[in-house]
Symmetry: C2
């Protein structure tokens, strides 16, 4: 197993920052253009772990990423939460009045639409926040700003001309740490688990499942119905469970077994910190 | 109340097609650049109704659209499901070998990534599938193809060079019909309702709510936990309920009232057809 961590985006992206919080500041991250590539690199062993955004406090779940994770047979080995702060970055010394264009990922531009809309700037969508910052430095681009995080400013020696230009201050992204099952030893004291399951068509079947979970004193921190591929508008579910005693989880899994189909435990891990 | 229907996108877009299925082929649609604009035009009365995508069978819910709908105080007056079929459109007579660039909305390009990836084409992201088709006609662009639906081909007189280039055949989008409360008479025989609610922090509170719903013989066709603005990682819920007798819905709403906070019925309407 190599020790590098596959991330979506480039050095200085939010995935890169989250990976360093989880694995430590000296972590070697392997940039990937897509979430699919992150998963492939973990599955084929060219990266030891992967880091993949799974939900955001404003936009909600990134459902296709659950499908990627399941189809590749990977496990959730941990999680990390990151407070997303977007800044306006320029070459040092560039004044606001010089800016004609702002480059960033479409999601970052959207998060800053209120601020950006107050200026007559041309907005240019790019693949990655950090890549936009890097291009300004490499091309010595005057008149161009990037929307990206503080780590990108530091890495590419850009100036934060206007900090915190995102509209919603409570913008948090949750990232999952992915690994191959063979590389995922059971966490010493897991206190969280991610599962997916289908319920029968019968009315009330989901209610019965949730009652079993509640009876074990387990907290349901997330419940998400998902369109089920090949069965349009027949939903399956993703659930995150928080517990103090892993034996409670085992008891709940036994209790819901006759009420569900295809229960998959995607991972048992430690609750993540927020940075 | 004007009779026009605000839609996201341009004439020939999937919103336009869905609006014509719901309101009839002679409907006057008012193109809007964003979902926010659709909601504003309905709220300020410059459009009689709005049509807004709310979920897709592959990508899941468009959560920010629930927020737009709630914040504007609009009602759900109906729904319509559309089978999304993406085609490769060109000026009549253009061969596949002449194509150098393919233009479309990023989501459409993504849905066709398998097909597009087999060709050495430059992919250009645009605001709208139908707009990409229109630009090919207006500019008489040779060497350029658009990814869009059959209605765009018809409207802008383009040839469907390769039909059905989307990877996942079961690709359905659900659209909500929006109206101001004053313009939304109670449906004659509603058999579906959309609601949102918060549950208390107590373990098992969601389970108790779902038991009340099941006890009325109501089918839960969708359940979605949502990040709650201003309360990071404390989820609220969106639920769609299907019932035969509206009195059952009223009974369920009375039963869940002491178990929930801020129950909002976003609309009572007739189940939508799939086109």
């Amino acid at each position: 197993m190599t020790s590098s961590v596959a991330i979506q985006g480039f050095a200085g992206s939010f995935h890169d920052v989250a990976a360093r919080h989880y694995f430590g500041p000296a972590t070697a991250t392997a940039p990937c253009a897509t979430f699919g590539e992150v998963v492939r690199r973990v599955a084929d062993g060219t990266a030891g772990h992967g880091l993949m955004a799974i939900e955001n406090s404003i936009a909600g779940s990134i459902l296709p990423n659950y499908t990627l994770l399941r189809n590749a047979g990977l496990r959730v080995a941990g999680e990390v939460y990151l407070h997303i702060r977007q800044h306006l970055l320029v070459l040092p010394g560039q004044p606001l009045a010089a800016i004609r264009e702002v480059h960033s990922h479409p999601m970052a531009l959207l998060q800053c639409a209120d601020f950006l809309g107050q200026h007559p700037w041309r907005l240019v969508e790019t693949e990655d926040t950090a890549l936009s910052a890097r291009r300004i430095r490499e091309g010595q681009l005057t008149g161009v700003a990037a929307v990206a995080g503080a780590r990108a400013a530091e890495l590419y020696d850009l100036e934060i001309l206007t900090p915190d230009i995102h509209a919603e201050p409570k913008n948090y992204t949750r990232f999952l740490v992915l690994a191959r099952p063979a590389d995922t030893p059971e966490a010493a004291r897991p206190d969280k688990a991610s599962l997916c399951f289908h319920t029968a068509h019968a009315q009330g079947s989901l209610a019965r499942v949730l009652v079993c979970i509640a009876e074990q004193g387990i907290n349901l921190s997330k419940l998400q119905s998902c369109p089920q591929p090949g069965s349009t508008w027949h939903y399956s579910f993703h659930a995150d469970l928080e517990f103090d005693d892993p034996a409670r989880l085992d008891a709940a899994l036994r209790a819901i077994e006759p009420l569900t189909e295809n229960v998959q435990v995607l991972g048992r891990y430690r609750r993540g910190a927020t940075h």
